[in-house]
Symmetry: C2
Amino acid sequence: MTNTINDVAQKANVSKATVSRVLNNQGGYSEKTKRKVLEAIKELEYFPSGIARGLTNKRTHTIGVLLPNLTSSLINEFLHKIESVAHNAGSSVIVCHTESQGIKTMKYLQLLHEKRIDGLIMASTALKKEYYDYIVKMKVPLVLLSAYSDYPVPYVTANDYNAAYTATKYLIQKGHKKIGMISGNEVECIAGNKIPRVEGFKDALSDHNIFFDDRHIEYGRFSIDDGMTGLSKLIEQIPDLTAIFTENDEIGMGVLSAAYNSGIKVPEDISVIGMDDISLCKFMSPPLTSVSLFHSDMAEKAANIMFEMIESQAEVKNYILGHQIVERQSVRSQ
Amino acid sequence: MTNTINDVAQKANVSKATVSRVLNNQGGYSEKTKRKVLEAIKELEYFPSGIARGLTNKRTHTIGVLLPNLTSSLINEFLHKIESVAHNAGSSVIVCHTESQGIKTMKYLQLLHEKRIDGLIMASTALKKEYYDYIVKMKVPLVLLSAYSDYPVPYVTANDYNAAYTATKYLIQKGHKKIGMISGNEVECIAGNKIPRVEGFKDALSDHNIFFDDRHIEYGRFSIDDGMTGLSKLIEQIPDLTAIFTENDEIGMGVLSAAYNSGIKVPEDISVIGMDDISLCKFMSPPLTSVSLFHSDMAEKAANIMFEMIESQAEVKNYILGHQIVERQSVRSQ
DNA sequence: TTGTACGCGTTATCAG
DNA sequence: CTGATAACGCGTACAA
C-alpha cells in the first residue's frame, strides 16, 4: 500500500494538517517541524494523491483533447503543442480520437465529464448542438481549435476561405487557366454549410473570370487515396487541366504519387498546390508547394486560452490566424 | 455546482446508498424506487464523479503512455490503438511526449504517479534504472512497447536485429554488393549497448562475405534531414554504392528526397529499403520498399497485456512479433 | 428492500 | 505555530 498523509503525520508526530501545510509551502510552521515532516516524507516515500486533492480542490489538473481523424502530422503538431503548454501549467492531457464521424464523441464527452477535466479542447470538429449542450452542462471551459462556431465559444483558427482563395489566386497569377480542386469532403456541404476551402476556390476563380463547373471539383475523404483517384478523374473530365489545388497536403501527396505512377510530371505537366504545409511537404518529390496555416501556433494559442479561462473564468476572445504560401517546386508558371 | 449523489438521494427521498445501488445495477431494490431514483438523476442531470469513485476504488481507469520523439505516423499508430483498447476497457489515456532524450521523463512519471494511473505503457524507450526504480515504487503495471529490457517487465516488440538482417539480406539477394546504411542513432552504441538494427545490418553483410567498414554507415537522429545529408555523405565515401538500408522510413524518405533533388534515380541508380512500413511508404515517389514490424498489432497487444495485468495482477509474458518485407518500387535487382 | 456510518486522502476552517 | 474536525463525492459493510 502506498503511504498516505496520515502515515507521514504519524511518523513525524504532527497532525496531517501540518504535513499538508509543509507540502504546499503555506508557511506557519517552525523550521524544526518542517524538517521532521520532510524527513518522514522522504523515508516513507510519500507522494500525494492528485485525485484526493482534486476531490476537495475541484480541480483535477487534467484537460481533455478531442481529435478527429486528421493527417497524422497535424494531430501530432496539435497534441504536442497542447501537451507542452499543459505540462508547463502543471496539467496533463487526456486524448480522445473521435474516429469516424464522431458517433463516439458523446461517449468521450461523458468519459471526460466523469473524469472531471478542467477544460476541453476540440480540434477540427463541427460543434454540434448536442455536443455544445452537453459541454455547457459539464460547466467546463471549451476552446475550439481549427474550427469555427456560432455558439459563444472561443476558437482559434485560420481563415480557410481566405487561405483557399489565396492558393487559387496564386495558381491564377502563375498563368493557369484550367484549374481543378480535390476536396476532402465527400459532399459539397457539411450540415448545410458550404465548405470554406471550396468556396474560396470557387470565388477566386469567379473573381478572375475563369470558367469552372462541377467537373472541376472532386470530393473524397481527406485521404491520400482520394488524391490518387481524384487526379485521374479530374484529368478525364478536364483533359487540358494544368493545375490542381488540393484541400490538404495529404491529398496533394496522393496526387503526386498518382502522377508519378502514371508518368505525369509535376510540375511540368501539371502544377499542384496543397494546404496545411505539413512537415512532409518539404520531402515530397517534387517538394510540395503549400499554404501554411501555422497550426503549431494555433494549438499553442488555443491551449493558452484554455488555461486562461480555467484560471480566471474570464471570457476570452477569438483568434483568427493568418496564412502564408510556402513556395516549393510543385507549381510552375504557365 | 454540479449535483452530487446526495442531491439525488434527497430528491428521490432515499439514501445515497440506494442511489449508488441503482447506479451500479447491484439489485436489491424495488422497481418503484429504481424509477424514482432514475427520475431524480435525470432531472438533476446527475453524473457521478470518477475521481471520487477512484478514491475509494483505488482505480482511476486512466492509464499513462510515455512516447519519445518518433515518426508522427508511428506515434499515431501506437496512440490510436492503445486508446482504442483503453476506451473499450472503459479507461482513458494520458499522453506524455518525452521530447528530447527524456530529461523530462522523470517529471512525467511523477505527474502520472500523482494522477494515480492504473498502468503505464512506455514506447520505444530504453528503460533506465532510474525509471524502473521509480515505477516499481509507484506499484503500477508497466508494459514496454517496441522496446526490450532486462528488468522483469513484460514487453512487446519486434526483433529489430532480425528485421534489419532480413532487409539487408534482401538487398544482397537482389544482387547488391556495395551497400550502405543510414542509422538514426547519433552514436554507434546507446548506453553501451549495440544498436540492434545496425548489428543486423553488419552481420548480414559479414555472413554473406560482403565487405564493409565504418564508411558504409552514417549516423543521424532519425529525421528526414539525416536521410538527405546521409545520402550525399555515403555516396561521397562509397562512389560505387548501389543500395542503402535506412534505419527507418523517415530516413528513407530523406534519401528519396535528396536523390530527387540531386538527380539521382531510385531505384535505377540506387536502391533504397526502409523500415517500419509507415503508411506513407506507399505514396513516396517511388513507393518505398520497407519492412513491416506490425506496429499496430504491437500497440494493441501491449495495451491488452496492460489491462490483463491491471485486472488480474498476473505475470504476463513477453511477445516478440514477426516482420515482413513489403516490396514496392525502390529496390531493383542488380 | 433500505438506511446508517465509515473509509478513501487531501484541504480548509477554526480553535488553542 | 499547531491540532482537531469537517468537508469533498462515492462505495460498502453492517444493521434494520
